[in-house]
Amino acid sequence: MLSERYARDLTFLLDPKYLGNYFSAVSKQTLRNQIEALRDQRKKDKWHFVINKAQPLTFIENEDKLQADISCQISGTRDDTQEVRTLLRIWSSDPTLCYRTGIDATQVGNQFRQTGKRVLIRIHFEPRRPTARIPEPTHHFQIGGVPDVSEICWWPKQIDVPRLYYPPMDVILLSELVLVNLFPRRSSNLRKKPEWTALIRKSQNYFQQTFCSNYYSFFSSEQDTVLGNFLL
């Protein structure tokens, strides 16, 4: 069962040799609990792995006072993945990045001073919505979404475009993305290690194989463009 193998892979994230030292203590507890919940589903045909946005997997702050968190809803049946929805948020505690005196509303400044951080960017990686009003690629990412009040991140609800075709991203693949972008130097040795690259490749195989083989067949298709094919 994929759920069992995936639970095992996720466990390595807790190890200080891999990501153990990159996560906050609370996040490690959260991840451990959700891994246990996933393991409990090993005998079921359908499985779910959820990290709630209210209790996300939070990385430590980097040197630029940027902090990433990840939440997800991943489901599958037996040896397949079905739906992979993940959210990556980048927070900042740097006042110069979060509030522009004389430009931003005082209320935003007050709110920021209370919480000490705000979301600078939020990216959804998700499958196409069946009820979408405009055509969406089968798998895509979208900047924005619907922020919580605590994020102090205004994004007009009406602006839910563009949706750029992109392979599904699970927690492990998003963690790699965070390391490369927020901890490029600190994580450089980890990212060279064969054990780490093997872990990433497993997630690529579980979650991105179909998308990537589709991409290559779409690329050589003479019937339509790559984007056009992803919209079909």
């Binding site: 040799k17 450089s188 040795n189 060279k192 290690k193 064969p194 054990e195 690259t197 093997a198």
Partner: protein, 371 residues
């Protein structure tokens, strides 16, 4: 000042033999006074030894020869060592035996009890012309004495004795720091911490192969006179400094950075430094070559082959209890494929999954001069 060695052995011929050797060998006679004891005399009575105030003990392993009264002491050197350690926590104790009698690799179950000893020295090796063992015993006796005689036994005094650079004090605190909160230490506790942790595992100080690879250069280049002159301030010269040398990692980096340009500092240290050194000396320096692929500069050291290797061609290899702050122990693909010493049991679960792939990979060393 000569150090006083107390040598305990139940074999009178051995006692005589080594008394003569210590007297006739210049290196030994210049540094040591030897006092011999046959083991049975030790029974319950340390008075004579107390009067000598020894600087170091040499203890034989086998005590099965009866004395003049036909008594056998009935203990091994290990038991005697533990007894001595309890009475003399301020004096180094060396197990002095023969390879044919005692092999610590086979006696792995004795690991805990062997902790009473500071060193195991084989009798046949001690007076070899090219052996550094006599120097090792000299340092052991001298530096234990320094710890013993130190008036202020505080953490700050210890840092001074090991001549720790300011940047390393925080790191040293994080590595199972010995308890000196009552401004008192046992020399044995400090010696063990320094010798079995700080100087043993690469991380805070490096031996020559780790230091060279850290800088991206070959060991030969690192040990060259020109290079050592530039990096002399990085050399560890504190207590129990091994004769083969150790270098503070932080100081290697500081000196390397001092000759690197801003652009070079943005690169991985091995790449940036080799470029900077080539610019400074106007000739290229021999780089650390990966033992598996021949790529340069290699950025890690294979735990088994003790040779430079690219980190991407290694797996974590857990053979010891080193603190997490130290450099991770990793084994090269080359050792995995060729060394009899390699044991897959020491890999972590992700590493174990990769073994068959590594063994079936094409040999990257073919056609290179990595050997």
């Amino acid at each position: 000042m000569k150090s006083k060695i107390v040598y305990i052995d139940d074999n009178p011929q051995e006692l005589e033999k080594y008394k003569a050797k210590f007297a006739s060998d210049n290196r030994a006679s210049e540094n040591f006074h030897l006092y011999t004891f046959s083991a049975p005399e030790l029974k319950g009575d340390f008075n004579r030894i107390n009067e000598i105030m020894p600087d170091i003990f040499l203890v034989d392993y086998n005590f099965d020869i009866p004395d003049a009264d036909n008594n056998v002491i009935g203990v091994t050197g290990i038991t005697l060592g533990i007894q001595l350690r309890q009475v003399y926590p301020e004096v180094p104790i060396v197990l002095f035996t023969r390879k044919s009698v005692f092999n610590p690799k086979k006696a792995y179950q004795l690991k805990e009890t062997l902790s009473a000893f500071d060193e195991i020295v084989y009798k046949q090796d001690l007076f070899q012309a090219d052996s550094a063992l006599l120097e090792k015993l000299t340092v052991l006796a001298k530096d234990y004495r320094t710890l013993r005689n130190q008036e202020s036994k505080s953490w700050t005094s210890l840092l001074k004795l090991i001549q720790s650079p300011p940047n390393d004090t925080l790191l040293l605190e994080q590595v199972n720091r010995p308890d000196v909160s009552r401004h008192n230490w046992s020399a044995n506790t400090i010696a063990k911490w320094l010798r079995n942790t700080i100087l043993k595992f690469p991380g805070i100080v490096y031996d020559s192969i780790h230091a060279a690879t850290f800088l991206g250069i070959s060991r030969e280049a690192f040990l060259s006179d020109e290079f050592q002159a530039t990096f002399s301030k990085a050399k560890y010269s504190g207590l129990f400094a091994p004769s083969e040398g150790r270098w503070w990692r932080s100081q290697l980096q500081r000196i390397a950075y001092s000759i690197m340009s801003k652009k070079e500092k943005d690169l991985p240290l091995g790449i940036g430094f080799t470029s900077a050194w080539g610019r400074k000396s106007e000739k290229p320096i021999e780089k650390a070559k990966c033992i598996y692929s021949g790529e340069e500069p290699a950025d890690w050291v294979c735990e088994i082959l003790n040779q430079p290797v690219m980190l991407k061609y290694t797996l974590a290899y857990n053979t010891d209890q080193r603190p997490s702050i130290m450099d991770e122990s990793r084994v090269s693909f080359k050792a995995i494929r060729t060394s009899n010493e390699f044991d897959p049991k020491n890999l972590d679960p992700l590493g174990k999954e990769l073994i068959s792939t590594i063994r079936s990979m094409a040999d990257l060393t073919e056609g290179t001069n990595a050997e």
